[in-house]
Structures are given as structure tokens and as C-alpha cells.
Amino acid sequence: MSLRSRVALGLVVPVAIVVSYALWSANAASPYFPPLDVILTRFRELWLFDLVASDVLPSLKNLGLGLLLAVIAGIPCGAILGRIRWMGEMFGPLLDFWRSVPPIMLIPPLVLILGIEDSAKVTIIAVGSFFPVCVATADGMRQADPTLVDAARAMRLGPLKTMVDIYLRAGSPAILGGIQIGLQAAFVLMVASEMLAAYRGIGYLTMQAQVTFDSVTMWAGTLLLALLGFTANAVFVAIRNRVLSWHTGMRVSRASS
């Protein structure tokens, strides 16, 4: 199939959805489904760029800070659990347990302790995204080839250099996978914690709009959240592909030989 026909086919469904929603909502006058142009106008009024400084950027800052903390703590913890056998056997099950707690479930107890300030949100995000990063790092420690580890020992590469240059690099596909799951958890926790307990933020505004039956603002907020969720993931994937270009290259060259 030619690229042109694939692009054409790919546009069919999205265009159909948008057009049929626009046509239908213009006449239906349903309170839940306001006309498309009204939603887009509200989107522009709210997010381009009146509330960006007060409600969007602080949320994104919490997200970035929380995830950063989770990565800073999660990678060393995972490395210890993955490399020191008794540590892994002792705390692996505990970690498995905490990772099985749905991330949103962490919000009520942490809000009870920490309140609803930005620092509390950062902590919630950091705690929720810590577990996937830590588990993936521990798992990634197994990816280092024993031959390469022997080679490193024969070169008398010190323990720290071996960890950084061999184990963490060999595990980087797994670790980045863990950070990606961590990012998803962080995003969910950012939105959910704002929906549940906050006085500002996109999640808060969108949920408030829903409570007050302001469906236009609700739609505009949902649109922005969807856009942010998509973009956050896309940016991460782009970074990951860059960092892991060796991995893709190696797989392609092995598959073709």
C-alpha cells in the first residue's frame, strides 16, 4: 500500500469522528455534548495562555520533580536489590507488594498525612513512580552478559565503574521501560491528586467544571489533559529512542545477519 493511500485511510476515522460530532452537537443541544466550536473557543480562552502560569506549569513542575526524585531514588535502590542477592530476596517481595497497590490508592493516605500543597503532590508522584523504576532497575541488573562481566573483572574495572559502565548500561532498556511506566504513573497521580484534593491545576479545574455542570470547560480541560498525556509520552519515547539507538541498531543488525 502506498504511503499516500495509508495517510488517506488513516485520516478517515479521526475526520469522521470530528465531523459527525460537530454536525450532531450543533443541533442536539445536549447539555453534555456542547458544539465543537464552543469547546475550542473555551480551550483557547483558558489554555492559550491565561491559566498556563497559574494552573498548567505548576502541575507539570510537580510531575517533573516527582519523577526526577523517583528516578534518583529508584535506580540506586533497584541496583542494590538486583545486585546484592540477600537484599533482593529480603526486600524484593516487599517491593512486589507495594508495586501491586494501584497508584491512585496511594493518594488518600498521603493526602491525610501531607495535605494538598505542591510539596505533597510532588511526594505522591515520587512515591507512585518510584516502584516501577526500582523494580525495572533490579530486573535490568540481570541483563548484563556474564561474559562481559568477566571481561570487566579481568580488566579490573572497579565496582562503581562496573555498575555504571556495565550493569546500568546493559540494563538501560529495562530501566527506561520502568521510567516510562513511572511517567505514566506520575501523570495519573498528577491528574488524580488534583481531581481529588487541590485548589488549582488542570485536573482540579476539569473536575470542578464537571461538578458544576460546566460541560464546556470540562471538555476543554479533558482535551488539554489528553494532549499533555500524549505529548509527555511522545517526548519520552523520542528521548528513549535516542538513548537506546545502539540497542535498536544491534537488534536490526542481528536480525538481518
Binding site: 497497590v101 491512585i104 473536575m207 480541560g221
Partner: protein, 267 residues
Amino acid sequence: MSEATSTLLWRPTGGVKLRQVGLAAAGFVVWLGLWQWMTTTGPMADTDGLPTASQTLSSTLELAGSSQLWSSLGTTLWLVAIALAFAVVAGIAAGVAMGFSPVVSALLDPISQVLRPIPAVVWLPLLLMVLGPAPELGIAMGFLGGVWAVLVQAQVGVRDIDPVILETSRAMCLPRRLTLSTIVLPSAVPYFATGIRISAAFILMLVIGAGILGGAPGLGQLILVAQQTGDPARVFGLVLWSGLLGLTFNSILTAGEALLRQHRGGR
């Protein structure tokens, strides 16, 4: 949507040994001991909203005897089952069609690529507005979060079929429908299993999330009420129960998937 979402770190090799069980138990004891010390004599004593480990444990045990907990767990699992059923049917149908037919793939792939990375929690206000704090909210959230894993795995499963087998069936002039039912679907079953396992883990999280954020019935609603009535020990107890539920749930799914793959000699 990686493997790491629901496989376990703790994989004892060569059978579970006493040493491993002992160390695992010691890990939990260390954690609880540290918690108890922090909240009684340590730096976090008398922190508002933070119960001691012993208060939490007794609340956890107390919950075990409460019919409210068990009926909530039952509701949650029931909603998960319904959402999973929808996700599996829709995900496999769309995924197989996309894997098998280039036209369907070209039609649906772009929209799936756009919607898939958007966390389902984004749709909550919208769904809450339309559905209200009803069981359907949990089902819809679960479906939206869980359908992608099945879809992707089904798509990959169909595409990963050995091209030689497909050539053979073409050479035998098998009609497409027969190729689909006798060759494509059976060889993709292990992929379906992986998709279902990952999807189910997502759905459990989202059904509970819908309860916390939107008041849909089940475990999430229970913790929301406990938080609003200001009962920290109960909130923490419910968190432990959710961890227990998640761990059991994932272990069963992982074991089920492994069994199926082994049975089929799949990859």
C-alpha cells in the same frame, strides 16, 4: 505497557526454599518495625493522619472480618471481569483485523497510536458526567485503560506468524477465513494471553481509581469514604488490602499465562 507492569520481581529459582521465605518475611518485619518505631518514638510520632504500624495491622485484620470489605472486593472484581470481557472481545477483534488486513490497519492504526498513550484517568470527568458514580463508570474506565494492551498484543501476535506457514496456506489455496481460523488465531493465542494479563492489571487499577475519583462502587469507594470520615488506620488498612488483592491477582494471571504458554509450547 511493558512486561514490567505485572510480572513479579520475586522469582525463586529451583523451588521456594525456607531461606527465601524467611528473608522475605524478614523484609516485611523490618518495614513494619521501622514504621512502628517512626510513628511511636521516632521522628514521625504524632504526625496527623499517620497511624502506627500496629494500628494499621489491627485495622487490616478488623477489615478481614467486615462484610463491607468482602462485598467491595467482590464488586471490584465483578466490574474488572466485565470490563476485561469487553476489552478482550474488542481488543482481539480490532487487533486481529489490524494485524491481518493492511486496510484495517491503515484505518485504525493512527487513531490507536494517538489514543493509546493517553492515560485513561483523563476521561474520568467526562465519563463521570455522562454515567454518574455508577458501576458503569468503573467498567468504562477499566475498558478504556485495558483495551490497548490486548489490541497491541493481538496485532503483534498475528503479525509475528511465521511467514512460511502463511505462504504454505496460500500455496494450498486456503480461503482467508479458513487461514484465519485454523492458522492465524491459534498461533496468536499466547500473545492474547500476555495481552489479557497486562490488560487485567491495568483494569484492576482503573476500576479502583474510578471508585476513588468518581465514587464508583467497590474498594475505591470504600477508601474514599474512609478518607472523608477521617479514619487513617482504616485508610491504610484498605491500602494494604488493595496491595494484597493486586499481588494475588497478578500472581494468578502470571501463573495462568505461563501455564497456557507451556501447554501450547508457545514462545
